[in-house]
C-alpha cells in the first residue's frame, strides 16, 4: 500500500496532504483569507499566493504525517480543471519533486477527487451511488460505479449553484462570501414567504441563470414599492431563495435516483455545507429510503486530502503519468 503526497492548487486554496495505506495522515490548507476583502477569488493573489504557500504547506503536510520525502511512493497533483496560473504552481512543484526524488507522478481530476472525498472516512458509500457535487464553479450529478469509473449524468447549463447563492447575496447587498450569509439569514426566515419561477431544464441538467435574473427583477420591483423592503424582509427573502435553489438541486437528484433505481446518495463540494441543503436532503432521504453520505466539512471544500484519496486508487490501478504532462484548465471529466 502506497505512501503518497498530493498537491491541490486549482483555485484559491493551496493544499498538501499525505495518504498512507489509504489513510489520510495530514491535510494542510493555506486558505487565502486575504481574498475576502477583494470580494472573491482573486487570481493575482491566487497564483502569487500559491507560490508563497506551496513550500511551507508541503513541508507541514509531511511533518504532520511524520513522513520523510524518501518514504514517498508517488507524488500526485491536480491537473485540472481550474485556473491555468494556479494549476501551474502545483503541477510544476509536483513534477519537480517527483523528478528530484525519482518517484512516479499521478495526475488527478479535481472533480473526480470531490467525489472520492467520500472514501476518506467511514462510512463509505456502496457502489453504485449518485453524487451531487455543488460548489462555486460546479453543479454536477455524477453516477459512480467504481472509484475510477464515474460519469456525469447531469450538470449546470449556465451558472453553478454556488454562484447563484453568491450573486443573490450580491443583489441583496450582502458582503462576500454571500452564500453562507444567505444560509445564516435563512435560518430565521419563512421559506414559503416568496416564490421565484423555476427554469425547467431537460433531463438531469440544471440552470440557475434564469432564477438569478428573476430574483433581480423581484428585488428591484419590491424595492421600488418600498425602499426598505430588503432590510425589512431579509430573512424571508434568504429563506425563500435558498428553499428554491435547494428544491431545484434535490428535484434533479430525486429524479436521477428514481430513474437509475439507486438509493445510495452523496453530496460533495463547498455548497454541501449549506444547512438548508443538508436538512432538506435528510428529509428527502427519509421519504425515499436513501442512504445519504456527506463528507466532513474540511473534505467538502477544496483540499488535497481528496486528491490524495483519488491518487491512492490511481496508484493501485497503476495509472501514472510522465514528466511531459501539463495542467489542463478544461480537463475533460
Amino acid at each position: 500500500m502506497p505512501v503518497i503526497l498530493a498537491i491541490e492548487s486549482s483555485c484559491d486554496e493551496t493544499s498538501a496532504a499525505v495518504i498512507r495505506h489509504g489513510q489520510v495522515r495530514s491535510n494542510v490548507v493555506a486558505n487565502q483569507t486575504v481574498h475576502v476583502q477583494y470580494g472573491g477569488v482573486v487570481p493575482e493573489l491566487a497564483s502569487r499566493a500559491h507560490q508563497q504557500h506551496i513550500v511551507p504547506v508541503v513541508s507541514q503536510a509531511l511533518a504532520q504525517a511524520q513522513t520523510a520525502k524518501t518514504e514517498l511512493d508517488a507524488i500526485a497533483f491536480t491537473r485540472g480543471p481550474g485556473l491555468l496560473g494556479s494549476l501551474l504552481v502545483g503541477g510544476s512543484f509536483a513534477k519537480a519533486l517527483a523528478l528530484g526524488l525519482a518517484k512516479p507522478l499521478i495526475e488527478v481530476h479535481h472533480m473526480h477527487a470531490h467525489v472520492l472525498a467520500h472514501f476518506i472516512e467511514e462510512p463509505q458509500p456502496q457502489f453504485p451511488f449518485i453524487c451531487l457535487t455543488v460548489s462555486g464553479g460546479h453543479t454536477q450529478l455524477v453516477l459512480v460505479r467504481a472509484p475510477l469509473d464515474m460519469t456525469i449524468i447531469g450538470q449546470t447549463q449556465d451558472d453553478a449553484v454556488g454562484e447563484a447563492f453568491d450573486k443573490a447575496a450580491k443583489i441583496l447587498g450582502l458582503p462576500y462570501p454571500g452564500g453562507p450569509l444567505i444560509d445564516q439569514h435563512a435560518q430565521t426566515g419563512n421559506p414559503e414567504a416568496f416564490s421565484f419561477p423555476e427554469v425547467q431544464t431537460p433531463g438531469l441538467n440544471f440552470s440557475f441563470s434564469g432564477i438569478k435574473t428573476a430574483f433581480l427583477y423581484f428585488v428591484q420591483d419590491k424595492t421600488r414599492q418600498n425602499p426598505d423592503f430588503v432590510t425589512e424582509h431579509l430573512s424571508d427573502i434568504c429563506a425563500s431563495m435558498q428553499h428554491t435553489l435547494v428544491k431545484i438541486l434535490l428535484g434533479k437528484l430525486r429524479r436521477a435516483a428514481r430513474e437509475l433505481k439507486i438509493n445510495e446518495v452523496a453530496i460533495a463540494g463547498g455548497v454541501s455545507a449549506n444547512r438548508g441543503l443538508r436538512q432538506a436532503l435528510r428529509d428527502l432521504a427519509n421519504r425515499e429510503g436513501w442512504r445519504v453520505h456527506v463528507p466532513a466539512f474540511q473534505y467538502c471544500t477544496d483540499n488535497a486530502a481528496m486528491i490524495a484519496m483519488a491518487a491512492h486508487y490511481k496508484y493501485l490501478a497503476g495509472e501514472f503519468v510522465g514528466q511531459d504532462i501539463s495542467p489542463e484548465p478544461r480537463l475533460a471529466f
Partner: protein, 140 residues
C-alpha cells in the same frame, strides 16, 4: 448598431448577427448589469461557433476555455472579481487577448487599460420583461 432581442428564442439569431457585425474582431467586451444576459449571449455565440462543451459562467473560474468544431480555442473571461488591471495581468490576460482566438469578456470595464486596440464593445441593457437591447460598437 443596436439589436433588440425580445426573448431567449431570438438569441441564436442575434448571436449570428453580432458575429457578422464583428467581422474579424475577436475580442468582445460585454457590459451589462447582473442578469443582463452576458453569459447567455456568450453561450449563444459559442453554439454558433460550433462549441459543444457546456458553456457556463466563468465568474468563479475567471477564465473558461472551450473549443470550436474546428478545435480552435474560445476564451470566456469574467472580470467581475478582479479589482484592477495588475490582477488581470498576473493571470496572463494578455495571452488570451492577443491569442487571435475569440475572447468573450464579461465585466471588461474592470480592465480598461488592457483593452487591445481593436475590439467589439457590446452593451446590454435590460428592457421590459425578457427584452434586451444590445448596443454594438466596432473599434478597429
Amino acid at each position: 448598431m443596436e439589436l433588440i432581442c425580445e426573448n431567449l428564442a431570438q438569441l441564436p439569431a442575434i448571436a449570428r448577427q453580432v458575429r457578422n457585425f464583428a467581422g474579424p474582431l475577436r475580442v468582445w467586451l460585454m457590459e451589462g448589469q447582473l442578469g443582463a444576459g452576458k453569459t447567455a449571449l456568450a453561450q449563444a455565440v459559442c453554439r454558433d461557433l460550433g462549441v459543444t462543451d457546456p458553456v457556463s459562467s466563468p465568474t468563479f473560474a475567471i477564465v473558461n476555455q472551450y473549443a470550436t468544431a474546428q478545435g480552435q480555442p474560445v476564451y470566456h473571461l469574467d472580470c467581475y472579481r478582479l479589482k484592477n488591471e495588475a490582477e488581470a495581468l498576473d493571470i496572463g490576460v494578455e495571452e488570451y487577448l492577443y491569442s487571435g482566438h475569440y475572447c468573450l469578456i464579461e465585466w471588461a470595464s474592470r480592465i480598461q487599460a488592457l483593452w487591445p486596440p481593436a475590439y467589439l464593445a457590446i452593451d446590454i441593457a435590460l428592457g421590459p420583461g425578457q427584452e434586451r437591447r444590445l448596443n454594438l460598437t466596432r473599434h478597429d
